[in-house]
């Protein structure tokens, strides 16, 4: 098998960095997330490839928080779209966990299927190579196995690396992966290493059947109870690897400006507020319900898989202690009222 020795990792990254921007899990001061290798500061920052995962997902690499779409110019009654900003520069997501990759696959469904291909997403996405870091040691908030993710054989990866102690076992899966592998072929060695043994999940989550049951629970009283402590703060949507909702806005200076899209959150009142002032989800509980139904039911109905990938970040980040695993449990246990 091919392996990349951990001692050679940084040199390999430097090499990759010449042809593409490489995003890796790292800790910078108090934050942890996927940052560009260019921003890595020796001695201060810490690579987190061997940690379970990082706090902020690699979502921004495929869907930047703010993305310019096109520039606008006004001349009297004339309006022009001067330039569009599809960005196809090569990027590598290195060491993403299977849950985060599944989230990207979910976004692929949204942005690339059902009649329309989003050109901004498509250009960016096609230029991204994904190196997955297979998971053998689930953390206490992990439940990807329950959400249709295979932690040791992740779908959607161009390359899969497996932590074998001194080195990563390197498995190329796609032509895109081949191209990347060939760039750093000089650092790969042929060696036989024992693969890690997959450890059992700490939480036992039974998602199966939840979507079907939820179909009957839209009007159930359970939502008021489940969402009562929710502040509708939106952290869950921002740290979520798969929450993709966006807003389109404009910025103008006099006669020039640009339109951009930016992340939005279904937790905000303004999200679904209509021009006339009406809002079908004006109440915080209604927004809470929509989010969990989207994650656990609606997405599954539309695209065949849940939009939650079991990464556990929202469980960790929620300032009110709302726990999606508990919500799944309570839904499963709830008695249906006719």
């Amino acid at each position: 098998m091919k392996v990349l020795s951990k001692a050679k990792l940084e040199t390999a990254l430097n090499k990759l960095n010449q042809g593409a921007e490489v995003f890796l899990p790292m800790q910078k001061a108090q934050e942890s997330g996927f940052y560009s290798w260019k921003l890595f500061q020796q001695g201060q920052d810490e690579l987190m490839l061997d940690a379970l995962n990082v706090y902020l997902p690699p979502k921004h690499v495929v869907l930047p928080q703010t993305e310019r779409m096109y520039s606008i110019k006004l001349e009297g009654q004339d309006m022009k779209i001067e330039q569009t900003f599809e960005d196809a520069s090569p990027r590598v997501i290195f060491g993403a966990r299977p849950c985060d990759i599944k989230a990207i696959l979910c976004m692929d469904e949204v942005f690339l299927t059902r009649g329309y291909e989003d050109s901004f997403y498509k250009c960016r996405r096609e230029a991204i190579t994904i190196v997955a870091n297979a998971c053998y040691q689930p953390g206490p908030a992990c439940f990807c196995n329950a959400m249709e993710v295979n932690p040791v054989e992740p779908a959607g990866a161009d390359i899969i690396i497996r932590d074998a102690g001194e080195a990563y076992v390197w498995e190329t899966k796609t032509p895109k992966g081949e191209a990347l592998t060939s760039q750093i072929a000089e650092f790969l060695e042929e060696k036989s290493l024992a693969l890690p043994v997959a450890q059992p999940f700490i939480q036992d989550v039974k998602y199966e059947g939840t979507a079907e049951k939820l179909k009957k629970m839209f009007a159930d009283h359970i939502w008021a109870k489940l969402g009562e402590a929710c502040h509708n703060c939106g952290i869950c949507t921002y740290v979520c690897p798969s929450c993709y909702c966006f807003d389109i806005q404009v910025k103008m200076w006099g006669d020039e400006g640009y339109r951009f899209r930016c992340w939005d959150s279904c937790m905000y009142e303004e999200y679904s507020r209509e021009a006339g002032g009406g809002n079908p989800r004006g109440d915080g509980i209604e927004r809470f319900r929509n989010r969990f139904l989207h994650k656990l039911e609606f997405f599954k109905e539309r695209y065949g898989t849940p939009l939650c990938t079991g990464c556990g970040r929202c469980i960790v980040a929620c300032p009110a202690g709302i726990n999606i695993v508990k919500i799944i449990d309570e839904i499963k246990e709830a008695e249906l009222h006719a």
């Binding site: 800790q27 703060c233 009110a320």
Partner: protein, 302 residues
């Protein structure tokens, strides 16, 4: 703390039995050991779940805003910071005193469930200070409830880690350029999730300026300009209102030192309009300095 938990439970049950309250707001145990979380109890059975432990860090006063338009009578537990927030809500006429039955608890300083979770799950390396007490509690000036109907536990001494405005002093010492660079760097991390606003008991405006679309005061773009605009406008709205509960800084997913800005304003409000500390005691009709107006107010800066 077991003892306090039991007492809170007994009081809540009794209040429900005597029909003195419709709702009781306290904490319950979450799925994980350090996941204590707010509980809105509506009956005796719910009340049996109430706990008070070292992770009961949330400011419960914010939850009162969910009920401000109703008539429900509410029992609620208050640590020092929760109680100061309640005073502020009463002063701002967001709530009526007679709707509340406040159970005060002296607070020994809490541990931060978010930090514990992050550390436990390995998603973030946390450099926790001291004995695991949450960062926000190390700046506490009033751990004891300032308004209550019943008081539990013993009075506590504040967990001050050092000079109160030490962080502010360091900021003031910077040159304007240095300060600009500091804020530019710090605020560039902001992901504009607005969690700091949502968990803030002082953010009780019915329509927030940041949600206004007509005109749109602050752009939605994640850029230095819009991020600064958001934080500076938010901070100035906190002047004279912030009770230093630190929930904003605790909730922030990217560790922006929000309390630094708030403390600067606390210090300035005290210096210019003081002596003043927000929400330290409830006197009916009292108004904080920036909520009152008199003709003789100096106005030469306008």
């Amino acid at each position: 703390m077991k003892d306090i938990s039991n007492k809170i439970r007994d009081i809540a049950v009794k209040l429900f039995q005597e029909k003195k309250i419709d709702i009781f707001i306290g904490w319950e145990k979450g799925a994980l050991e350090f996941q204590t979380r707010p509980l809105i109890a509506r009956n005796e059975a719910d009340a049996a779940k109430l706990v008070f432990d070292e992770y009961a860090i949330h400011n419960l006063a914010t939850l009162l805003l969910k009920f401000r338009d109703g008539g429900e009578k509410i029992g609620i537990v208050a640590k020092g910071c929760d109680s100061r927030s309640m005073v502020r809500l009463l002063e701002d006429r967001q709530f009526q005193r007679e709707r509340l039955y406040i159970i005060g608890v002296g607070c020994p300083g809490m541990k931060d469930p978010l930090q514990a979770m992050a550390k436990h799950t390995g998603l973030k390396k946390i450099n926790a200070d001291g004995n695991g007490v949450a960062a926000k509690c190390l700046d506490c000036v009033q751990p004891n409830p300032v308004i209550y109907d019943e008081l539990l536990g013993s009075q506590q001494a504040p967990q001050q880690s050092g000079e109160r405005f030490a962080r502010v002093a360091a900021l003031e010492k910077m040159s304007a350029d240095e300060r600009y660079r500091f804020f530019e760097e710090t605020l560039s991390k902001c992901i504009r999730c607005y969690a700091c606003r949502q968990v803030c008991p002082a953010c009780n405006c019915r329509t927030c300026i940041f949600d206004e679309m007509k005109p749109q005061w602050v752009g939605r773009e994640n850029s230095t300009t819009d991020n600064m605009m958001y934080h500076l406008v938010k901070a100035s709205h906190m002047a004279g209102r912030c009770v230093e509960c630190g929930e904003c800084e605790r909730a922030c997913p990217v560790d922006i030192p929000l309390m630094l800005l708030n403390q600067k304003l606390i210090k300035d409000v005290n210096a210019f309009f003081g002596p003043y500390e927000a929400g330290m005691s409830y006197i009916e009709g009292a108004k904080p300095p920036l909520s009152s107006y008199a003709e003789k107010d100096p106005d030469d800066f306008i």
